[in-house]
């Protein structure tokens, strides 16, 4: 039996739960996390001397459980270590940011537990300094206990904006306003579906109570159309449900249009055990179901991999039923926060709107590229158009570029985001120096001392 360690990629709830279950089964685990601390997005740990953000009793119990679960000799936690990919022979490349070296290992199996990334719809000015994602602002707050100075506007859609606003109010720094594209109160029947999920509902109710008590304007059915730098700050243009425009000036804008799986560049899950490391995905990177489901899914995948490696049958658990309940809750939330008006199709945004920030490619560039008889496919859009070609490897633009290309050429087969990004290592940028310095001998022990 292959006694090499199982590699778990990502130190959030799914990764921690998977590692604990693998260790329960007697497996050695290498858990790699890119940040200097475990926790993931929801359970982001504060720096020393800063109190954690209040996340409620259930959340605190979850973190206690997850942290305790990995305190065992079978699990080696490697912080500041990134996963770069796995080659055809099953060798895995790890980027150790502390030593500046790339290492190879040959794990028995790989659990990809890299969570979610936020979606931010392109709009004029989204690329400016002072504009962050809402989650990006939230992790900074959780980590440092500080909220950056100035008037902060939260805009886009979804429950994260409400949670972030509630946390800002609790910290004594209410946001200037919340601008929500959906109209949550217009869906009372759909909202009733949330009654089946009291945990998230109670959390949301707490945030809402704080937001209303602090009189934070919650502009529903309203879209942030554009951001413009001025001497007085960032001037944002809002469009309400009747199409009326309003300009307000703030210092910072936090954007958020939902989340999706952080799946770029990672090896696909293996359908069956093979000579190569068995690859499985767990948590939000497999399916976006939220933090509670990520723990359930991680535990499920940990047990499943342990059983597969031991050649044992995979036990039936309640996990599938509990994941189905989480999926239903996500569906209800999607209906409650559905856009009140159809968003402007990406391809009809002003020509100068940035689509691919890394390469500075605009809506106009894409329109020009797709004009003419032979519409380029996804790969050509990347290679000749330079869309999704930059350092973020298309994480923030490939979906929008694919959507816009499909809208511009309804006659041609629609490109997929993966046509643009590809699915190959390195899954994240790595310095050439670190690669050159990697231990290239494939016979090195999998746990170098």
């Amino acid at each position: 039996m292959n006694r090499a360690p199982v590699l778990v990629v990502g130190g959030g709830p799914a990764g921690l739960a998977a590692a604990a279950r693998l260790a329960d089964a007697g497996r050695a685990v290498d858990l790699v996390e890119l940040r200097p601390a475990l926790g993931g997005a929801y359970h982001r740990r504060p720096i020393p001397g800063v109190a954690p953000w209040p996340i409620g009793r259930a959340g605190e119990a979850r973190w206690t459980r997850l942290a305790a679960g990995i305190e065992r000799p079978e699990i080696r936690v490697r912080l500041r270590t990134g996963f770069l990919g796995v080659d055809g022979a099953g060798f895995t490349l790890l980027d150790d940011r502390t030593t500046g070296r790339v290492e190879t290992m040959r794990p028995a199996a790989i659990v990809i537990a890299t969570g979610a990334v936020e979606m931010v719809r392109p709009r004029s000015g989204w690329e400016l300094p002072g504009v962050t994602t809402a989650g990006g602002l939230q992790v900074m707050m959780k980590e440092t206990g500080r909220i950056p100075e100035g008037r902060i506007l939260l805009a886009g859609s979804g429950p994260l904006l409400v949670a972030l606003a509630g946390q800002m109010v609790a910290a004594g720094r209410p946001p200037a306003a919340i601008v929500e594209t959906g109209d949550p109160f217009a869906h009372p029947i759909a909202g009733l579906g949330l009654l089946a999920h009291p945990g998230p509902l109670l959390e949301a109710a707490g945030h809402m109570a704080r937001i209303f008590a602090a009189r934070v304007p919650w502009r529903r059915a309203t879209t942030l159309e554009a951001i413009e730098p001025t001497d007085a700050g960032l001037a944002v243009t809002l469009v309400d449900r009747r199409g009326a425009r309003e300009r307000i000036v703030v210092d910072r804008v936090a954007l958020h249009d939902g989340i999706r799986s952080n799946d770029h560049g990672f090896p696909e899950a293996s359908p069956t055990a093979s000579a190569l490391p068995f690859v499985a995905w767990a948590g939000d990177c497999r399916e976006v179901l939220g933090v509670a489901a990520a723990e359930i899914d991680g535990a499920r995948i940990g047990e499943e991999i342990a059983a597969r490696l031991a050649g044992a049958p995979i036990a039936t658990t309640s996990a599938i039923r509990r994941l189905a309940a989480a999926r239903q809750a996500q569906d209800v939330l999607a209906r409650v926060f559905a856009p009140a008006r159809p968003p402007t199709p990406i391809e009809r945004l002003p020509r100068e709107t940035i689509l691919c920030r890394c390469e500075g490619r605009t809506v106009g560039d894409l329109v020009d590229l797709l004009e003419g008889a032979d519409a380029p496919g996804g790969r050509e859009i990347k290679l000749s158009g330079r869309f999704s070609m930059g350092a973020c490897q298309g994480r923030f633009c490939a979906h929008w570029v694919a959507e816009a290309a499909a809208g511009l050429r309804p006659d041609a087969p629609p490109p997929t985001p993966h046509d643009l990004t590809g699915r190959r290592w390195p899954s994240r940028p790595v310095s050439i120096a670190a690669l050159v310095a990697s231990n290239s001998s494939p016979d090195e022990p999998t746990r170098p001392t």
Binding site: P129, T132, T133, V139, G360
Partner: protein, 87 residues
């Protein structure tokens, strides 16, 4: 590990123990981190190392400011500054 100061484009920036370079810069009121190869201003955006928009240069290497812990005496410059700036 304790807090301290690092050099940002020649200017001292204080940080607390465990803070990332990006969070310390935000605390010091620095939003624009430099320019990318296309000449566009860079900034803290996603906070999780995915967007590559907060790249800065430490010891000649590009690193994500949001992921990289600040260290006392570290010399950090904008990604588009080729030469290290002495303190």
């Amino acid at each position: 590990m304790t807090g301290g100061t690092f050099s940002w484009n020649g200017r001292d920036v204080a940080f607390r123990a465990g803070e990332s370079i990006g969070a310390a810069l935000a605390g010091a009121g620095v939003d624009a981190l430099g320019h990318d190869p296309a000449g566009r201003a860079t900034r803290w955006f996603c906070g999780i190392g995915a967007c590559q928009n907060c790249l800065v240069r430490v010891g000649g290497r590009l690193v994500e400011a949001c992921l990289t812990p600040a260290e006392d005496g570290l010399v950090v410059v904008s990604a588009d500054v080729a030469e290290e700036i002495d303190r």
